[in-house]
């Protein structure tokens, strides 16, 4: 079965400072922890699904899905072998494989270095790694009471050098 270690950076990461705790890697760590505890559902590489996919738990898709994916209160990860032709609506979306469709995330959309997305994004926070592919539009959907944006200069506080990420 595929696991996160298959595509995480091969070199050891430097220790993270507390000020940078709210980074994508924390999200990844949480997913790894939950995956080890069996709390992340996984759709394996050989699985193909056509239709509507809904649920109330975090999900990793490494197979093929065509249709519609609804995980409004949970995180969705498209693994390196994942091939999605669907509109996605989730709390957090991480793309390592390929997605063709519109992506709406309540919190974050992250496209990793190997990730490819053709479609439109609606999210308050977007992280795109160098080398990723994206074609489409991006629109911010801000909820009332969200924290005010930090100035662009704060972008440099991001920990992982391979990610060009910013905080909202």
């Amino acid at each position: 079965m595929w696991n996160w270690n298959n595509y995480d950076e091969p070199s050891p990461q430097p220790p993270r400072r507390p000020a940078e705790a709210n980074t994508p890697s924390k999200h990844n760590t949480e997913i790894i922890r939950r995956e080890k505890m069996g709390q992340v559902a996984i759709i394996g590489q050989s699985i193909q699904i056509k239709g509507e996919l809904t649920g109330n738990e975090d999900l990793t898709i490494d197979g093929t899905v065509e249709g519609n994916i609804q995980l409004k209160d949970n995180s969705l990860t498209i693994g390196p072998n994942g091939n999605i032709k669907a509109d996605i609506n989730a709390k957090k979306v991480t793309i390592v494989g390929e997605v063709q469709g519109n992506v709406t995330a309540e919190e974050t959309v992250e496209i990793r270095e190997s990730g490819k997305l053709r479609g439109n994004i609606t999210t308050p926070r977007l992280i795109i790694a160098d080398g990723a592919f994206f074609k489409g539009s991006v629109e911010m959907e801000r909820k009332p009471g969200m924290v005010k944006d930090k100035p662009a200069r704060d972008d440099k506080a991001v920990l992982r050098p391979e990610l060009l990420s910013v905080k909202s």
């Binding site: 496209i111 926070r125 977007l126 992280i127 795109i128 790694a129 160098d130 990723a132 592919f133 994206f134 074609k135 489409g136 539009s137 991006v138 629109e139 911010m140 944006d149 662009a152 200069r153 972008d155 990610l163 060009l164 990420s165 910013v166 909202s168």
Partner: protein, 221 residues
């Protein structure tokens, strides 16, 4: 030495004249710009400007722009570009050179965008490709839509493709990409003016780092 660019061969350690840090990685260079600031000022007051970014994909730029309240469209033209061969040296044979491969057309609704950003793009296009792209861009822009385009005039070295990043409205940063150098052209001012024949020049300036920044506005009609 050219301030801000550091592409002199004596200071370079990577193919194509890339400025490098002591550790060997390509160094990012920041420089002041007025044209981006001017573009943003001209967009201010519009309800939700639609901005098309045709340069190298940059997550921070997208985030920076959407935080301004823009709707950002990303179409990284260089990621799918088959480099056009440079013209051969003049000969008396009279043989016609093969035309450059056509660019994928811009597939957007007419009059959709308030502005387009063309960072490190035109230097890698053949003249016919650049003209086709600008013609498509003109259709996709609203009347009085803006285009910010950068042209590299560095004749000394062949800088590799770079990724631009907006640090502030009046400050840009570019970083050489770890990709092989692409065939690059240097367009003269006259050629740039011809490219943007259907546009009015808002501002055009030559920077110390050998870049020309051009801010143009679509003429009505």
């Amino acid at each position: 030495m050219i301030p801000g660019l550091n592409l002199s061969p004596s200071r370079t350690g990577a193919p194509g004249g890339t400025a490098t840090t002591p550790g060997g990685s390509a160094a990012a260079q920041a420089y002041p710009t007025n044209n981006l600031k001017r573009l943003l000022q001209m967009l201010s007051g519009l309800p939700k400007p639609h901005v098309l970014d045709l340069g190298r994909l940059s997550g921070p730029n997208i985030q920076w722009l959407i935080q301004k309240g823009y709707k950002v469209y990303v179409d990284d033209r260089l990621s799918t570009l088959k480099p056009a061969p440079l013209p051969p040296p003049p000969s008396r044979s009279g043989k016609s050179k093969p035309p450059p491969p056509p660019l994928e057309p811009l597939e957007y609704s007419p009059g959709l965008f308030d502005a387009a950003l063309c960072w490190d793009l035109f230097d890698y296009l053949a003249p016919t490709q650049a003209k086709d792209l600008i013609a498509g861009l003109r259709k996709a822009l609203k009347p009085k839509g803006l285009v910010l385009a950068l042209f590299n005039f560095n004749r000394v070295s062949a800088p590799p493709p770079v990724r631009y990043r907006i640090l502030q409205a009046d400050q840009l940063e570019y970083k050489p990409l770890p990709v092989p150098p692409m065939p690059r052209r240097i367009y003269e001012n006259r050629e740039i003016q011809e490219f943007f024949a259907g546009f009015d020049t808002v501002n055009s300036c030559f920077l110390k780092n050998q870049m020309r920044e051009v801010l143009v506005q679509r003429l009505p009609g």
